[in-house]
Subunit: 393 residues, 2 copies
Amino acid sequence: MSVNATVTVEVGLGDRAYDILIGSGLLLRAGTEISRRLPGTRAAVVTDDNVAAAHLETLKAGLEKGGIQPAVITLPAGEKTKSFAHLEEVVDGVLAARLERGDVVIALGGGVIGDLAGFAAGIVRRGMNFVQIPTSLLAQVDSSVGGKTGINSARGKNLVGVFHQPKLVLADTEVLDTLPIREFRAGYAELAKYGLIDRPGFFAWLEENWGKVFAGGPERAEAIAEACRAKADVVARDEFETGDRALLNLGHTFGHALEAATRYDSARLVHGEGVAIGMALACRFSSRLNLASPDDAARVETHLRAVGLPWRMADIPGELPDAEALLAFITQDKKVSRGALTFILTRGIGQAFIARDVPASEVLSFLRENHPGRQSRPGPQKSSPGQQKSRPG
Amino acid sequence: MSVNATVTVEVGLGDRAYDILIGSGLLLRAGTEISRRLPGTRAAVVTDDNVAAAHLETLKAGLEKGGIQPAVITLPAGEKTKSFAHLEEVVDGVLAARLERGDVVIALGGGVIGDLAGFAAGIVRRGMNFVQIPTSLLAQVDSSVGGKTGINSARGKNLVGVFHQPKLVLADTEVLDTLPIREFRAGYAELAKYGLIDRPGFFAWLEENWGKVFAGGPERAEAIAEACRAKADVVARDEFETGDRALLNLGHTFGHALEAATRYDSARLVHGEGVAIGMALACRFSSRLNLASPDDAARVETHLRAVGLPWRMADIPGELPDAEALLAFITQDKKVSRGALTFILTRGIGQAFIARDVPASEVLSFLRENHPGRQSRPGPQKSSPGQQKSRPG
């Protein structure tokens, strides 16, 4: 496989099926790929300040090759842009460009831009065409597959949105070289997640090859493709998240609680880092509940540590709220169904499953035992459910 | 059939199928009917000041019978409520009530409330359950079937929204007795539309029985049911409006232009009145293009006049913009696809069809000939394509 080879992943969703193209130099091919699928289309590009500075001119040159001269809507970078106010701004910009239902909204950016632009595309004229050009690793392996779009509410993240599938995703692996390493690592956590859910062979491959994925060789495209395939398989089984799709939340229940506990302060914790710690905690919690071997939990922790990701609450700079407060964040999480605590737990690497009715008392004990405020924390290798039953205070 | 009999219309949309119940006293049965379909559900009622004053207490008593004590979100009455600001208000109110995806948003009101509440239900947590309790005749025969929801933009009406099907529609025919007669008549125009589209027998039945529909006998429920069946048939064929569903726009292209031309001033013209004039014009235009008999156009005009509806531009109080300006409103209409003029025309009563690429010049000539500013206007009975070729100015 040459460095420039493009991998195609087909997301099979019946009449909403689409392709994800993964490879280098795709920004310059955007016009050709889009106009091949949507002949004669007009377009609006939604992006943010940072991404526009780095990639907008390249994308415009690429679109021009397909005869597309887009309207451009540039928003401030950052999570706060996922708001009603900016949604209205994008909607108005698309309507101002006089685009019709058969025209296309193109998201050029990370998850924030993808979620916001996808939501706008889903509601202007009750649904326009949508193309994603994710520029972060997290967006390439996560939000580019599955059709979830949305904004945040004062009452929580991603509480408002629609399911709206793109017509095409262009994951340009070259643009990832412009990412800060911390952001690349955070995206890697979501990528490794698919190995932990149901692809043990992929996780083992990552243990061997993660260095090449970071370096940008053909392994990077292959790893992204495998993550997209894994997510696409789950989404195809459960497009509207009524069942199996919850598996994708592995690491997210603990992770969201930690993000909330650090007030979404990206200096302390970004989403992918929260997911990394959350996955390690979910594996450790599964081991504590005698569902999985502590060796598997240790293996996950070791790999996350190896790539430079945080893997335990103690890795978060600054003080955390106590275990009771963390539990309160968990019970507020939107994935809580009618008061029962639902967790994604695991029987081992690649054997995640949906556990409903997990007792809050078990979660609280576990959080207390693993809280950095606790005087002596058991090392991963030593911990076992039997040894952890003593509780502080 | 007794006055209290309830008619059920099933809207067949696969796993999104739902029932429309039509009859008197349904507000008081709301709790029973909803909790039968959605056991254990919690609810938020979205309504407006006017409807709340007339019907909220009755509905709350009805919900109580099913064990439902709803949160209530009351908005100002009127078209201006279909805005981003009020959408955000409803979304926030639903989230504040801590409703989950399996809970229900209930719209109690006319089209504005149904469109707005349905849109909110479609985007909170990416789609909650939705129940419509339409309190206007227009909403009972139109917006309660088909799943279109939305708000207005500064750039046009209904330009932003989603398709979101309700789980249940309760059309209480008794509440219609509280409507001003002008509003009832406006809704009747949409009801008669289904006869003109593809149910000639229904139109003939209405010509005989319209008085009983207005009076509120069992014929009212039967007429509403037949209109709902007619719309449901079209929607089942084309849920996402990519084809046949456009037939439902009979009368709407001219109608929307007249609404825009009167700046949505309800003192001059309400939506259903615009549709009435629009249907008469669509039939007359079809006759002018030699597609339909002028007798059919005259029959439509006669019936609209008989029930007290406006049927020609001259029936609109105040001055209208000239024919060129009206054409400009038509070409700005959202149903224009890629610059070509699409109209719903007819070969006779009950024989509507989608005509694409209607020449703008023909529309302009027709508008000039039928414009009230024209010195002498041909009477309906006398007009024929041959006689109308002379143009003013």
